[in-house]
Symmetry: C2
Subunit: 268 residues, 2 copies
DNA sequence: AGGGTACTTCCGTGTGGCGGAAGCCCGGTC
DNA sequence: GACCGGGCTTCCGCCACACGGAAGTACCCT
């Protein structure tokens, strides 16, 4: 290698690590890459990238279409289906989310926290519901959405501090960006047992979220997003969200999903 | 290595390949493994497995809970969400599946073919619908389910031959296991444009499936499973399934998902 | 034709993956 | 409390195998 540092190289990574770096190159914004793009994105020499990609293709982790671009393969999707916080959680929550959806016909969302972001696990949206920025498999800042507020309010202190220390992104004029105010909001979320995001992400949407618990720990959050310009619009769906979140909590426990299994962040 | 063969070792695999082998050890039946189990399952020495697993954990591909077991991590789920045939297809199909579900309140399923098996991408089931053996992220034989018949009927000849050459698994007394009869069934599926599985998987369920097309190629199949003991039970839902499948086809094309992107099986 | 881009293949080099072995921790048993 | 066994972690020297530069191929576009 042309690098001279003996420590762990920042970009390159060792052996199998390169393989993972190739997978990391795929994002929602760039879900299809040519070999050269891949090599550039990962900083791996072309010939090496070529070999790694061939290996991943043979395994099913990547697929190549006739236009020469690579995409994430179905094998990865299939494997991901085994993640407890992915499909496991979803399976438990689905029936209740469906009920909520049928009753409201608004956006119904289920999300978990991953480090300092929300990750959306499931979402139903009627064709005529308010458009929202979130999508399944997509991430979002913790501080703006209702699900995010619930998850943040019950996150370890260390995580909260990290979020509060970093500058908070402003989406609309209603977005809370003052750390002091956010602290107050989080306290209120803990007291009330649910969170409201009033036009903090988009100016035409309000959302309510309630926590999903496993053995007393918050492991996910459920929300409904409705069109509206004030918290009043939210009042009618709040009981439904809270009830569904409780029902999901029960289903989660019944499915044998403990907070242990549903927490695990970095590990070693 | 203690092996003496110079060719590609059957189990061990090379470098990054071992890493993928570790991931492969996780299945729906064994979604949580200890380090030792992992080492045994992959045939990799314990110390090597330890290193690989640490690498995967650091990346987020595996998570370790306090009981010492490893599970597939959320990072894999997130990546899998980028697979066109996974979430991409699902996103396009979801609204129409919801409609169908609301109208019928029966099992509504979306599946694709992966080599000689069906893989279920999405499924809705009311709490009181017929219990079925399939689950999202799970595989199944092509020859028995209605979705499988649709996918098999329009698969490349080479795939059909392989399926017909292998012994066909019998689930119930109605399962078609004679290759000659199956050929006839497939021809009828192609002619009719939809498939019926009459108690071929479980004795109390009948299902109808219709193909989802992209630029004229069959890329997925949609089905509804209803309780019933004869094909008559199916008649009432057939038009709905066919209409929804067509609607999904349109949505798939509109989403820019070409057959190219949705086909790609092995690649090199 | 010529230059550019993208992909594929080859092969000598040396590095980092490999795995045996020893040590550690915990829980069960006598 | 000593002993034992199973599972996990760490260490380290050897050498296979991954690495990537370079040359070759294919296919644009000018």
């Amino acid at each position: 290698m042309s690098r001279r540092d003996p420590g762990p190289p920042p970009g390159g990574r060792s052996a199998g690590g390169k393989l993972l770096a190739v997978l990391d190159a795929f994002t929602r914004e760039r879900p299809a890459l040519t070999l050269s793009e891949l090599a550039r994105a990962t900083g791996v020499p072309l010939s090496t990238a070529h070999r790694l990609v061939a290996e991943l293709c043979a395994w099913g982790g990547l697929e190549r279409s006739a236009d020469g671009r690579y995409r994430v393969g179905l094998r990865v999707w299939e494997l991901g289906a085994l993640a407890p916080r992915g499909l496991g959680l979803r399976e438990a929550a689905l029936p209740f989310m469906e009920d909520l959806y049928e009753v409201t016909h608004e956006n119904v969302q289920l999300a978990v926290r991953q480090d300092t972001e929300v990750l959306f696990i499931e979402r139903f949206a009627a064709r005529d519901a308010v458009p929202v920025l979130t999508q399944v498999g997509g991430r979002f800042a913790l501080s703006a959405t209702a699900v995010g507020l619930v998850l943040l309010a019950h996150a370890p202190a260390e995580v909260q501090e990290r979020v509060l220390a970093a500058p908070l992104h402003r989406f609309t004029e209603h977005t809370v960006v003052d750390p002091r105010r956010l602290r107050a909001v989080l306290a209120e979320v803990r007291r009330a047992g649910c969170a409201v995001s009033d036009r903090q992400v988009t100016v035409d949407a309000v959302s309510v979220a309630a926590p999903v618990l496993a053995r007393g720990e918050v492991v996910a959050a459920l929300s409904v997003v409705v069109r509206g310009s004030s918290a009043a619009a939210v009042r009618s769906v709040t009981p439904g969200v809270r009830a569904a979140a409780r029902a999901i909590s029960r289903a989660v426990e019944q499915a044998g999903l403990t907070p242990e299994v549903l927490s695990a962040q970095p590990a070693g």
